[in-house]
Symmetry: none
DNA sequence: AATGAATGAGCTTTCATTCAT
DNA sequence: TATGAATGAAAGCTCATTCAT
């Protein structure tokens, strides 16, 4: 048997890593980070505890890589022209993607938000380079609203963020109480996009009211 | 010397209990629930570890009582006529209070939201009677929007909740990054109230735009 | 109100003490000594923990007094002429009393035997004066069998003791499996007494055999 | 270096497990179950506390496994043809083994009897499958005496059990007072066997008496 | 690369005992 | 005499991490 090339080795390593990270993410989401043990993760991933430490230097490092990888992945989807400028179309697309991600990567959000709330963890996350990008995006949104002539762009960005994250939180923490139906999510998304597209129609609490008159 | 009266004992117990709960809440918020040890709480509260167990049967029980007590306290402020009916004025007042609480009881929210994200913890919280009240409130809001002629009350309630909770989350998790200024909070609140009061004006992203044309 | 006489005080003290001891014995028997807490005992006795320490200087001391008091009480019933001599009648009476005690003071035996098996506890008990009496009684029994012309009195005493204690153990530890009926106990006692009274008939395993012939 | 084979691991586990159980049994016997700490056991076994929990999920579980293993081991020795039938020879052999075990496994008995007396522990033991076997044995003995024409087999079995267990108890709890000599044990055993073999001669308190007349 | 036995620091929890009142 | 809040030493147990194989 010819020895594997170093390239093959690297590939194997990478796929093992993802496998571990996926497993861990699922467990973190289901059981909570603190409640998960290395033994649980290793067992579910079908490897030994020792091997896990071959790939990640600590439980915390494993978490960090999961968070970073998730953020990067998301970021790549959201990444606009990087010209710092956002067209209406791009913003619409951005929102659409965010909503899709919220559904598809629910596990990830669950963990991400959960940890965001743990003060000590947050401090760590904040220092990561990817988070800088998020702050950049915040600026891009600010610019968008400024260019559209909004008087108080910060307020607009805050509301948009709040709407989206608020929905995210609702989705996540009502999971055990009541499932938010997909149709409601779609309507929600539609409304948010309307709000941006068409300010006249876009009253947050009145989309269907005009019929009334 | 005669022993303390049972009244005195009760007073001691109650004040000690609150003292411990306050201390614990502060620490949970600052350090995260998982990261806090009983020793830390006891030390900060100036008592022995043993005494803590005289008042709470476990760390988890301590947490539960904190959550329950906070929810109850909040609930009392929010509680409307209980006639199941909500006037516009009451809704306005409700929102105002929610915004005030968000600022005044930030520690509480930090812990509460943080735990809401921990799956196992959430299951516990959901079963508590106080949470039933929250569900009741949800119905009251639904009724309100229905009576106002909204076509899709569930969507409206969801958006209102998302807006408020989203702001809450923003407030909390941006704490270490950037402080949301009080003026922004006020504007946010004003906007939300406008949205409800006056549907024509209440476009979420345009309150100040009409002047522009 | 006239102050109580010191005699009255002493009476009150004594009755309180017995009350605590009775309660503790019952609990020890039901829950096991190690598993019982001072708090449990005090609560069941309707007094405060502090007061218990007013009467007994430690949990261990409480146990010791219970054991000692039980042994003394039993001993008084068994106490023969003290002339070191035992008539057949006295031995018969002795056995009868032992059997009665086994039923009436089951709680006590349960605790007593249970503790006898705990090495460290045993060491303590053995040093108590009452136990010396037991050893004395052993001698008296030895003498009895010697005088009756038995070749190996030690063996006889051992067998008698084993029979009685063995029944005691059976009674106690089969409690949760199967109750030994009173009639069986009576038959057992009758047999033991026969064994001593009438050596010809007293085959341990043959009371009903004569029909066989 | 290649990792250990699963066979090697199994061997390590098994030998470690017995090592811990042996150590614990000895300590339980010497110090009493309640008085023994995990730290003591681990130290005496030359391992860390943590490792102990790698093999036994709790102190109580460790105890249970010790008891179960002892009972099983004993049971294998006692197990007759399983035809539910007991010949005189088999019964004799049974008694012989019991007496030998009493001497050889004194530590075990000490712990076993000691715990039998602790109510809460007993409940646990009783539910174990091995104990069912003991009940089965009880039935076999009953059958034996019935077939031999005894009028009250239950009484006979009770007496036999009491004799044996009573001796066991005597052996154990007189350990600190006076050692029962081996010769006495032999005589005791001989007498019990005689009692069964030869009903005419087998008077419990008179084996050597007939010469006297 | 791969294993899981082994470690040990540190956690939650218990409870006999003390003590101010 | 009587209370129960308060203590603190010590227990059982957990688990991230290391390491010999």
């Amino acid at each position: 048997m010819s020895p594997r090339t170093s390239h093959q080795f690297k590939e194997i390593r990478e796929s093992r890593k993802s496998q571990i990270m996926d497993t861990a993410l699922e467990l973190f989401a289901r059981e909570g980070y603190a409640h998960c043990t290395i033994a649980m993760i290793a067992k579910k991933a079908g490897i030994s505890k020792g091997l896990l430490y071959n790939y990640f230097e600590s439980k915390e490092q494993l978490l960090n890589e999961i968070l970073e990888s998730g953020l990067t992945e998301i970021w790549e989807l959201l990444d606009p022209d990087k010209d710092g400028d956002l067209s209406a179309e791009e913003l619409k697309n951005f929102i659409h993607i965010v909503f899709r991600l919220m559904r598809d990567k629910r596990d990830y959000w669950l963990v991400y938000f959960g940890l965001l709330m743990q003060p000590k963890v947050m401090e760590q996350i904040v220092r990561r380079p990817v988070v800088k990008n998020i702050e950049a995006y915040f600026q891009i949104l600010m610019n968008y609203f400024k260019k559209q002539g909004y008087e108080n762009p910060l307020l607009e960005v805050t509301m948009l963020s709040a709407l989206i994250e608020g929905l995210g939180v609702l989705m996540i923490y009502t999971k055990d109480v009541v499932e938010i139906p997909d149709t409601l999510m779609d309507q929600f998304e539609e409304r948010v996009i309307n709000l941006i597209n068409n300010r006249q129609e876009g009253q947050i609490f009145s989309s269907s009211q005009k019929n009334e008159k």
